[in-house]
Amino acid sequence: MWDKIKDFASEFFVTGDPLIYGADVSIGLTLIAVVAALTYFKKWTWLWKDWLTTVDHKKIGIMYVIASLLMLFRGGVDALLMRTQLAVPNMEFLAPEHYNQIFTTHGVIMILFMAMPLMFGLFNLVIPLQIGARDVAFPFLNSLSFWLFFFGAMLFNVSFVIGGSPDAGWLAYPPLSELSHSPGVGQDFYIWGIQISGIGSLMTGINFIVTILKMRAPGMKLMKMPMFTWSVLSSCLTIILAFPILTITLALLFIDRYLGAHFFTLDMGGNPMMYINLIWMWGHPEVYIVILPAFGIFSEVVATFSKKRLFGYKSMVFALMAISVTSFFTWAHHFFTMGSGANVNAFFAISTMIIAIPTGVKVFNWLFTMYRGKLSFPTPMLWMIGFIPCFVVGGMTGVLLSVAPADFQFHNSYFLIAHFHQVLIGGVAFGYFAGLYYWWPKVFGFKLNEKIGKWAFWFWNIGFYVCFMPQYVLGLMGMTRRVSSYGWDKGWYELNLTSTIGGFLMGIGFLFQVWQILHSIKFMERDTTGDPWDGRTLEWSIPSPAPMYNFATLPRADDKDAWWEEKQRIAQGHAPKPQPKIEPIHMPKNSGIPFIMSACFFVAGFGFVFDWLWMAIPGLIGVVACMLAHSFNYKTDYYIPVDEIKRTEAAARRVI
């Protein structure tokens, strides 16, 4: 009996590596500490009522941000482990099989469990406020999206200590990801973790499209929407067209693995190349899904801190939409070397280059927003300005890569690695940081410490160049991606060491940010104006943090910069717009079903990973039961009485 348990445990848990044991211990201790703290401070009810069951978009946004910052930590540690392994030739810090797991989880986590949720967090925190709405269109669905993401991410991360991590690369090309080459459970964790959170992403896409199209404040025509709202719309349209492809592709891979089908196997008529095409049909739009909202953030930030209208609004809208459509026609540039023939390669080369045109136009428009403005440089604007040169150079190397015959020399090399990190860090990460710093006071009611923030910015920015510029050269020196070690004879040593140093500089930047948040929570002054940056759009017209119903009375937005114009009018001595009478506000009720349903999904996923039907089937039954329970629940809403609104408003605005 005892032996059986021991056998099971040694297969079930990941064993044999001191790093993993260390992680086990720290995860265990953290869990115990959290449970103990919640019990000691009697916070369980608070946690359940205020957070786990909330349908409030602002709280869901905060949970997204916290989860994604934790994932940024995990993905960042993965990155530094890799950079340490590559710092010197013939390093024996990570064995190849470990290295393979780490670059796989680094990629998956950074894109799917860091960038995506951070983006969804910003959608949630900002969009309803920016368009003058009281919540998203489907608050229950919104909560479900979050918990599906959360449990999907947890399922993926569990593989670190239980069963073993996937190691077939972040896109899991078959046959490496097939049963024949990955017989372990790591790849199943990959499939189920991404599938579960993918359902959530798709629903978020739908939710925000409907929210933006149906719930804008009176007067806000489509062509008067703030640019961030436009970028979210374009990103969400891309999501609902792209994510079903991912779901189907991974479902086919699952059927291959679970039922022994042959969609992507080497033999029996399977074709791995089909998977590569399919996954990139999602994968390429995916990178635009994450970059478009960053463009939106920069547009807001640059206008606010130039104290000037955004230049070329119509061009900007057109560019966003053009990028999101074109992104669906470029996928084959990820495998020019597959031998599709000259005409196919030329087509995808050109469709890829075309994306550079609207992107370039956006850069010009940002520059001319600053032109003849009054620029100030608080942290959000610093990230914006750091972004432009970084992204422009990253975009340029992207165009170089798109030239198909030249790509034969760049493909799979560190040149490619440097390129996509430059656009993903310089574009996406810098953008989301700018957004976080910019909207932080709206969400929490205080700014983040500027001084520490500047340290963080410079460490990130300098670290970035030190880390990735050498990688371009390494690519030209023939260093291929995913190699876990190299010899002295190659001449790659100096540049790799430099790159590693840069990686750690960015790590220090991240630590500064953590310190900045903690320090600011404790010491920063509360913002009483609700408009600390002298903002332009509606979210700055209400107190910070926003009351749970956001707007006591629905605002009007007759101008692109509605709040800015209103402030101008008041400054010129006009009376503020008359507020309509306060009426009871219709609000959605909290619900525990999204949490429970996603937990059931987790159970089902875990069951499928280990092929334990006794666990998977009850999990799925739980999912269906939750759906039924919600369908027959008619008590989903309530009204906030006028008195309470008046009290809240008075307290928040410190008037009357």
């Binding site: 393979n100 070397t337 009054k374 040169p389």
Partner: protein, 325 residues
């Protein structure tokens, strides 16, 4: 702020210098091609870089200029136009500049894409030498059908003679890359790809498996040695005289996942390469478009040629299934 900017500039120029200095060293293989294909690709890299720089450099300068000039705490009074948000003239300019640049680049790309199509034979008076490449877990098998020899993780061929690589895989997809001779191409099971390269001077060129294919793919390095015709012939003779034969069983041993040293074989089993290609049910996909496939000059062994390929597909798909039932 400005101190930071200055620091950034210093760091950037330091890197520019490193890159330039590194460019001079022959370790930067992509920038030091030794064959026609690699040279054309370098030309293309240079053309596209210059075209991009035409627009990037002014943008970067403009960025620093605007940020510097319109900073709020500037001593000089600058124009402030908070309502200025549109200019058809300006926007037309910056829609058209990228369009023109991309149009030029697109034209260049189309031309080079056809010119450098990897399955297209090189125009050269010498008859190409055929090397059949198979990527295995985690080593390379090279077969010389004309010479009747085989090697592992090492190739040798005469300089100034076109080399026709026929490539397949008996393992997860990899990518065959000799940077100094030219760009890479995937090796995929169930199909025979073609890649034509040439070395214009003798030398030991670094070759590698560029695409991740499992645990030890990083060990799939090989040397591609270009020598004079005489030296090559001597080497072939030496391999024939002193190396063991590669048998079918020997191949199966070799295909077992694991890393390998350099090996040489004095003979190869009849039709081994085609057997590997057809093992998975051949797809008529291999060499790009059919018009580029040139059968005329080949004395090579059967099968990878297009018409037989087609036949093979019809029968092999069938056999492939039978084989597994």
């Amino acid at each position: 702020m400005m101190k930071g900017l200055r620091r950034l500039t210093a760091v950037l120029s330091l890197f520019a210098m490193t890159i330039l200095m590194a460019g001079c060293s022959d370790k930067v293989v992509v920038l030091n091609p030794k064959g026609e294909i690699g040279k054309h690709q370098l030309d293309l890299i240079i053309i596209s870089t210059v075209l991009c720089l035409v627009i990037i450099v002014p943008v970067l300068i403009l960025t620093f200029y605007i940020v510097w000039k319109y900073r709020h705490n500037s001593k000089k009074a600058t124009k402030y136009e908070p309502e200025w948000e549109h200019s058809t003239k300006l926007e037309t300019i910056w829609w058209s500049i990228p369009i023109v640049i991309i149009a030029i680049l697109a034209a260049v790309t189309i031309k080079y894409t056809h010119m450098l199509e990897p399955s297209k034979p090189l125009e050269h008076e010498a008859k190409p030498i055929v090397i059949q490449v198979t990527s295995l877990d985690w080593k390379w098998l090279f077969q010389y059908p004309d010479q009747g020899i085989a090697t592992v993780n090492y190739i040798q061929f005469p300089d100034n003679v076109p080399v026709e690589f026929q490539l397949t895989s008996d393992a997860p997809m990899n990518s065959f890359w000799i940077p100094q001779l030219g760009g890479q191409i995937y090796t995929m099971s169930g199909m025979a790809m073609k890649l034509h390269l040439i070395a214009e001077e003798p030398g030991d060129y670094m070759g590698m498996g560029a695409n991740f294919s499992g645990r030890d793919f990083g060990k799939m390095e090989f040397t591609a040695k270009a020598t004079s015709q005489a030296e090559f012939d001597a080497w072939v003779q030496q391999v024939k005289d002193s190396s063991p034969a590669l048998t079918t069983e020997g191949y199966e041993q070799l295909a077992i996942p694991g890393v390998s040293e350099v090996e040489t074989f004095s003979s190869i089993p009849e039709g081994l390469f085609n057997k590997i290609v057809n093992k998975y049910g051949a797809h008529n996909h291999g060499s790009g478009s059919a018009e580029h496939t040139d059968n005329s000059g080949e004395t090579t062994n059967e099968g990878a040629t297009e018409h037989e390929h087609g036949n093979a597909e019809a029968t092999m798909n069938h056999e492939g299934h039978v084989g597994h039932e």
